[in-house]
């Protein structure tokens, strides 16, 4: 090879290590370019408000004036001393745990029913899923009218069974929270039904055949074949329901009762909203938000740990 062609080769074909490095850099840049919009928007609309909220929680601010007054952690102390906030947190936990259990039990029950060969099965599946498509505002208004003491269908339904002593669905402080929780269950059960339906259809029929041969009855098949097989879906469905119930209860409570009567349906989100935008105590509301975020993160972390541990056992 001549000296000229050797130098041409040197220009046109750089060493392999340098080529790999350049390619990696270009891929890295391209990857950055693709995720940049999401990261920028996430930082602007999630991370920044979170940090800003944490800072504002250390001040007294009415959200209207241009000055904030430093109070340190006093807002957190007020939150722990506030009986309404403690009640709101308690109601939030009752709400979240209650609807999670009922939604999943009903969802699995419906899925088991609608997994069988039934006439009109498609219709029933659609009917069960339909409420999922409505917004919580629409569902809240609908059920407010159903529960209405003068015009509501709920009381008329009870009349059919000869019951004249109507409960105060949304007026009795001992009952109102459960009436609102039922609306959440009614709306979302169809969604969980679909999750469980998909899981049930993935269970190999050979396992049921083997169970039949071993003399298993319906309950034993369900307990030792169905449940272990769909356990990841159960965990996922429970996690979705739980975290959603903690942070997605505002709309339905606001529309139906706005925390009343006597704060019996007050949940953390409605109380935080009222404190920030009605009472103009933005600093205090931010402190309560931080406490709620911490509690929800804790619940999520505990659940994730349990899920992973469960998954480990399953794999073993």
């Amino acid at each position: 090879m001549s000296a000229e062609s050797e130098s041409l080769v040197a220009i046109e074909a750089p060493p392999r290590r340098r080529r790999r490095g350049r390619y990696r850099r270009r891929s890295y840049l391209f990857g950055i370019a693709l995720v940049a919009p999401t990261v920028i928007l996430y930082s602007l609309f999630v991370i920044y408000p979170l940090i800003k909220g944490a800072i504002v929680s250390l001040y007294n601010w009415d959200g209207l004036s241009s000055t904030m007054t430093w109070v340190g952690f006093k807002n957190y102390q007020y939150a722990f001393d506030d009986p309404i906030f403690r009640l709101a947190l308690r109601n939030t936990f009752i709400y979240a745990i209650g609807v999670t259990i009922v939604k999943n039990v009903f969802g699995l029950g419906l899925a088991l029913l609608l997994n069988k060969k039934l006439k009109g099965r498609a219709f029933f599946r659609t009917a069960a899923f339909l409420p999922v498509l409505f917004s919580f505002i629409v569902v809240g208004v609908l059920w407010s009218w159903i529960y209405d003491p003068l015009f509501g269908l709920a009381d008329h339904f009870l009349l059919l069974f000869g019951i004249h002593n109507f409960p105060g669905w949304l007026s009795d402080p001992h009952l109102a929270l459960y009436s609102v929780m039922w609306v959440d269950v009614w709306k979302w059960t169809g969604f969980h039904m679909v999750l469980y339906l998909a899981a049930l259809q993935s269970v190999p029929s050979e396992l049921y055949d083997a169970a039949d041969i071993d003399g298993a009855n319906r309950w034993t098949r369900f307990r030792y074949v169905t449940v272990p097989w769909i356990q990841p879906v159960i965990a996922f469905s429970v996690m979705l329901a739980l975290t959603g119930a903690f942070v997605a209860n505002y709309d339905v409570v606001y529309v139906m009762t706005n925390g009343g009567p006597l704060n019996s349906t007050q949940v953390a989100l409605t109380y935080i909203f009222q404190t920030a935008f009605t009472a103009n105590e933005v600093g205090y509301a931010n402190a309560m938000s931080m406490i709620l975020i911490f509690l929800v993160a804790l619940v999520g972390a505990v659940q994730l740990r349990m899920m992973l541990r469960g998954r480990g056992k399953l794999l073993a």
């Binding site: 003491p149 105060g168 009762t257």
Partner: protein, 468 residues
């Protein structure tokens, strides 16, 4: 140049382009929205901000007034009508943050909050040339700590009992003037008909304080406004005899079977529907709903009566509460160059000729501005007669936390979940907490520094033309 180098440079170029686009797009979108939202055009332009108008007719009336203003003063007025009255402070805040000019803003129950936060201009001296055009007492709801922060731009409303006059006549009953007469009438209605004596939209909790205001007006010896100011200044306790008695009187409404706990689960719309369908004989509401009642075409004659006397003290009169449903204020953030024209616009809108155009679309039972016509309505004369005995809304003075505490206290007391004394104590505790934690002060003006006052007082009072 070979294929490899073309593809390398092309790849680099596309990566750089993608990176630039990725950074530019999230920044460009909000800027573009801001640019498109900014006011355009040269010359005088004023911006009005307020809640959604109650009807298309009302919105048209406002546009007509703005067109008249432009024809006379060569100044364009643009209006943003959005959301409910409770959301206006947030809208104003957002406009301030976005540096969007707001020259006039609607003002109702948030008057105190906005004024004490330094968001409103002190109008006391600005309206001096035309303040006599407002009917007596109609500026009082917009006056805090001796300063005027807004002017009424809609007719006066009041809280009254509406009743099925046709049913009452059929049963030989007269509109009650005392609580015992009300109990008697309710008993007759229950025993002789399937109609519920009374309905209340209790799930709309803002209605409950109206009840307390009516009983407290009597138990305080017709000094409810003064006592409320003293309470907020810390000189009067909510646990004192008059307040506790007012709550006890409310409890008697449910004890005597006039009001049932189902009211708590009924919305205002549900209550109106029940009343209009003849399922309930009476309801306690505001005159703002009179046009709603009429448009429901009830098959009976509607009558009104004042909240009945609950006290036996002959020196005390029954009173209703009320005010204009809407006021207009000048935000303290107004560009200084706009202040003279904004003041002129305020004067123009409240002139009788222009105000009539707006009033005609909102059922002017009781006008707030002299020289404007009231509705040609058989009830108008009766309701106008209540005006001298009408106090301003106390919930315009109470801070929001106290309003919420009072709503909860009334619900609790009325349906015997809570005793009147402990309900009163929860309200007092709420105010005490507010003072301790949020440094709440009622008479903020007298405690403000000269610098704070300078931010809301006009540095120069503009000369304006006063319409006849």
């Amino acid at each position: 140049m070979n294929v490899m180098s073309i593809s390398k440079s092309g790849f680099r170029l596309s990566a750089i382009t993608a990176l630039i686009a990725a950074i530019a797009v999230p920044i460009a979108v909000p800027i573009g929205a801001g640019v498109s939202g900014a006011s355009s055009g040269s010359g005088c332009t004023l911006h009005v901000l307020g809640e959604t108008r109650s009807s298309t007719a009302e919105a048209t009336a406002w546009n007509t007034v703005f067109s008249d203003f432009k024809a006379q003063y060569h100044c364009t007025v643009t209006a943003t009508w959005q959301g409910q009255f409770t959301g206006v402070p947030q809208l104003l805040n957002e406009a301030n943050i976005a540096h969007q000019p707001v020259d006039l803003v609607t003002d109702t129950t948030e008057n105190f909050n906005l004024a004490s936060a330094g968001k409103l201009m002190d109008l006391t001296k600005l309206i001096t040339p035309y303040e006599t055009r407002f009917n007596p007492g109609t500026l009082q709801p917009f006056t805090v700590d001796g300063r005027v922060w807004g002017v009424p731009v809609e007719p006066e409303t009041a809280s009254v009992f509406f009743y099925n006059e046709s049913l009452f006549n059929r049963l030989g009953l007269k509109a009650p003037t005392t609580f015992s007469e009300l109990v008697h009438d309710s008993g007759v209605i229950k025993s002789k008909t399937k109609v519920q004596p009374f309905v209340e939209g209790g799930s709309d909790t803002w209605e409950w304080p109206m009840w307390y205001m009516a009983t407290f007006a009597q138990t305080s010896g017709n000094k409810s406004v003064q006592n409320t100011a003293s309470f907020l200044e810390g000189k009067y306790k909510f646990t004192s005899q008059a307040s506790v008695q007012a709550l006890k009187d409310l409890a008697n409404f449910s004890k005597n079977g006039i009001l049932s706990e189902s009211s708590v689960g009924t919305s205002e719309n549900g209550a109106i529907a029940a009343f209009l369908q003849g399922k309930a004989a009476m309801m306690f509401d505001g005159t703002w709903d009179l046009s709603t009642f009429r448009s429901g075409n009830p098959k009976f004659k509607i009558g009104v009566f004042m909240f009945p006397r609950v006290t036996s003290n002959p020196a005390v009169v029954a009173q209703s509460n009320g005010s204009s449903t809407e006021g207009l204020s000048i935000p303290s953030s107004i560009p200084k160059k706009d202040l003279p024209m904004a003041d002129q616009l305020l004067e123009f809108i409240t002139s009788p000729k222009e105000a009539n155009k707006i009033f005609a679309t909102v059922d002017p039972i009781v006008p707030t501005i002299k020289g404007t016509s009231s509705a040609n309505d058989p009830l108008s004369a009766t309701l106008s007669g209540y005006l001298p005995r009408t106090n301003g809304w106390l919930d315009w003075l109470w801070p929001t936390n106290v309003v919420t505490a009072i709503e909860t206290a009334i619900e609790g007391v009325m349906f015997t979940h809570v005793s009147p004394k402990s309900a009163a104590q929860t309200v007092q505790n709420e105010l005490d907490t507010l003072r301790a934690q949020q440094n709440y002060t009622f008479n903020f003006w007298s405690k403000w520094t000269a610098a704070q006052k300078a931010q809301v007082e006009p540095s120069k009072i503009p000369k304006i033309q006063v319409q006849n």
